[in-house]
Amino acid sequence: MTLPEDPYQSPKAQQSYEPPKWSSNFSDAAAHAAGADRGLIGHVPIIALLLIAQGVSEIVFGLFGLAFTALVYWGPEKELSGMRGIGLLFAGISVPCLSIGVLRIVAGIFNYHYRRRILGITALACGLCTLITGYCAPTAIGLAIYGLIVYVNEPVIMAFQLGDSGRPRSEIRTAYFTRR
């Protein structure tokens, strides 16, 4: 009885190599990344998360301001009626604070996926307007400085171009962080 194959022989690799099924343009992304310095790309997710955190804190402040305004106008305590001027001031501060908070969160979500860099820069710049609250000012200034330094870094601009062209975050990170 003859065996069709020699069982002691190592199997021959007869299959032809198939490239891994990554997204169609990964090769291009890798080609970009292979020659590029990774720069401050690793800081982008940190800034995105900080943008979201700052946005949440600004929204909390805005809601607190509106709640205070509502309290001095419709609250049961008669003593608070003398503070209606401050209530109006708080309302005036809270409305831009809320809108900037929402802008920051939206920008943070997009930036986390390496998309919409200009939106991120806009959120960082508009965020400086929360200086008037005092409450968010130091963090807003720090985040604006840190964020702008990262967002004008050239490899970061390149990574955002890849993100805006539709490549997922994982591919961009793989392209930049698996090769030296």
Binding site: A30, H32, A36, L89
Partner: protein
């Protein structure tokens, strides 16, 4: 050897396709220059906002203060109410006293802020006129910070006297509690140290800003930095070549 002609080996990670190396086009902008430009842009933006708010305060400050000030409750002692009115009047008097010093300071700040903003943005794009603007801005800002620190300390001293008087009058109007701590001694000390603390903090911030501007004045004149601005065949900053 290209990836396609390779035999399949399940234990080997797939190789990325080989492509001819094309070095990325970069502006070659050093990190220090980026940091300096960004700091100048942020300080310029903050300075501009501060000038606008200051101008609003100078024009409509007393009226605005009157509009938002909480109305005195009938339950408050008369002495307390009088002290509050006098305090507000004294504050307004100090603001009026230094009005013709603070208004030019606001204008000076606005000019320095606009120069920092424009110089910072244009220097980030490695435009030579931007470097020159930033050099002028740093020079103007150093002078402004020094003069402003002097003005702030003079105003703060006057304010401290007024606040101390106010605290004394408030404490006199409040019935004394013999069992509790002596507020007559504690409160002026707390207020004095709070004002001094804010003044020292302001000085430290001013010192840090002066340090940054002097660094800018020195750094932007270095030959290798100047050379970056002379090179005209550079790609645009905000849209690198693909």
């Amino acid at each position: 050897m290209s990836a396609e002609s390779q035999t399949f080996d399940p234990y080997r990670s797939p190789t990325l396709p080989e492509v001819p190396y094309a070095p990325p086009m970069t502006t070659g902008r050093p990190g220090w220059l980026t940091t300096l430009c960004v700091l100048c842009i942020v300080l310029g933006a903050l300075g501009l906002m501060n000038s606008l708010l200051g101008a609003f305060g100078a024009i409509a400050g007393p009226a605005f203060q009157k509009a938002i000030q909480p109305k005195a409750s009938a339950k408050m002692p008369q002495g307390f109410q009088d002290a509050q009115i006098e305090f507000q009047e004294n504050i307004n008097a100090v603001q009026a006293k230094y009005f013709w010093a603070t208004v030019p300071a606001l204008g000076f700040r606005a000019v320095a802020a606009v120069l920092l903003l424009i110089g910072g943005i244009r220097s980030l794009s490695l435009v030579e006129s931007g470097r020159q603007t930033l050099l002028i801005a740093c020079g103007v800002a150093v002078v402004f910070e020094l003069l402003h620190a002097i003005l702030q300390s003079v105003v703060a001293m006057d304010m401290m006297t007024i606040v101390n008087e106010y605290i004394e009058k408030v404490l006199q109007s409040v019935p004394k509690n013999n069992n509790g701590p002596d507020l007559g001694k504690i409160m002026p000390t707390i207020v004095r140290w709070s004002i001094l603390g804010s003044l020292i903090f302001g000085f430290l911030i001013a010192l840090a800003k002066i340090g940054l501007y002097i660094f800018g004045l020195v750094y932007l004149r270095k030959p290798h930095v100047q050379a970056l601005f002379q090179n005209t065949s550079k790609p645009p900053l905000l849209s690198p070549a693909a």
